[in-house]
């Protein structure tokens, strides 16, 4: 293409029109704050790991302990805690391992792959949390509806199936809202990156 050759020639002769930054200015520049996407991913991911724990801390574990005890769910509580913390340690380990592999020294393809992989770990963590929330809520509801305290209080003509459906819909809506909020944050942060990644790998050519 002749036009591109013309462009190339001009491109290679543009040096005199480029700005010149002195060594001292460069020294200052490199110590300024980065606005890299990786930094944001790290901060947001960290918050995602920490926030659920802060919520538990501030909503008062004692009260929930009593509820578990009243409902006879002590062993369920123990099992869910063990599963939860083993999973979290696993997630944090994987997240950290992947985060460390993000380096601007890799080529753009590997860099983008590593960022997406790191994000996926947090995505699975969010899924895990929401699933746990759903399961625990359903188990507690079941126990509450089954408890004599509850059965004694409700009028006889209440259809329990409708109560169940209403509660499940409410929990599902809550889970979906959390999920959408999460998607929104990462949609903003990662959409461009994902688009660029798909364009770069081009499955039609690189099979």
């Amino acid at each position: 293409m002749d036009q591109l050759e013309l462009l190339k020639k001009d491109w290679q002769n543009q040096d005199s029109t480029l700005p010149k930054i002195s060594k001292s200015e460069l020294s200052t520049l490199i110590h300024k704050k980065s606005s890299s996407i990786v930094k944001w991913i790290f901060i947001i991911s960290l918050l995602e790991f920490v926030i659920p724990h802060l919520i538990i801390l501030f909503t008062g574990d004692n009260e929930s302990s009593k509820i578990y005890e009243d409902l006879g769910l002590n062993s369920f509580k123990l099992i869910s805690y063990v599963v939860y913390y083993i999973a979290i340690i696993g997630f944090i380990y994987l997240f950290y391992k992947n985060y460390k592999s993000i380096s601007a020294n890799s080529n753009p393809k590997v860099l983008m792959q590593n960022i997406i992989k790191t994000r996926k770990i947090v995505k699975y963590y969010i899924w895990f949390n929401l699933t746990m929330f759903f399961i625990i809520s359903v188990v507690i509801l079941y126990k509450v509806f089954d408890s004599s305290l509850f059965i004694d209080k409700i009028p006889d003509d209440v259809n329990m199936i409708i109560v169940w459906i209403a509660c499940l819909v409410a929990i599902t809506i809550l889970v979906v809202v959390f999920w959408l909020f999460y998607r929104l944050i990462y949609g903003i942060l990662l959409n461009k990156l994902k688009g660029n990644y798909e364009e770069l790998i081009d499955n039609n050519v690189d099979c």
Partner: protein
């Protein structure tokens, strides 16, 4: 030790800063954005520098880190106000070197390049820097076939923009 490393890095960066400026010209359309991207690329280069083992030339390594920053890592600053058009700041073509038609053509070409995607700009950049397909492929982390196919598509796209 760190100070020595920094001095060496700054001196390498100063000598090769044109590469970064050229990438900024390609990916931004006003002076403020140019400076912002230049800063982010410099920070990323400095962060990545301790892992630069000198296996490749400093400039070759720069291409990779700078393109990574422009395509993937850089989050546009909210302070950027899109005011100045691309012709007014970037690519001040030295008119004396060309006749009117060439100058006009170049203006159109630079304008057309601005319409390309991030990845396409990276390919055009490496092409304009006279890199062969093997080098383009290894810098971008794709196969040589992919690089050729993509470059042909970019050329066609530019042709379409120029001759609608």
């Amino acid at each position: 030790m760190r100070k020595e490393l920094e001095q060496k890095f700054v001196s390498d960066l100063e000598q090769n800063q044109n590469i970064v400026h050229k990438i900024c010209r390609l990916y931004t359309n006003n002076q403020h954005a140019h400076n912002d991207l230049f800063q982010e690329i410099s920070i990323q280069l400095w962060k990545a520098y301790p892992k630069f083992r000198g296996e490749s030339k400093f400039s070759t390594w720069m291409y990779r880190v700078a393109l990574n920053t422009a395509i993937t890592l850089y989050r546009k600053s909210k302070r950027i106000v899109k005011t100045q058009g691309f012709e007014s700041v970037s690519f001040k073509i030295e008119a004396t070197d060309y006749d009117d038609t060439e100058e006009e053509q170049l203006k159109l070409l630079y304008k057309a390049v601005q319409h390309l995607s991030d990845i396409e700009k990276a390919l055009v950049f490496l092409y304009l820097e006279d890199k062969n397909y093997k080098e383009i492929a290894s810098t971008m982390g794709i196969t040589e076939v992919n690089a050729r196919v993509k470059m042909n598509r970019v050329k066609n796209k530019l042709r379409k923009i120029l001759n609608p």
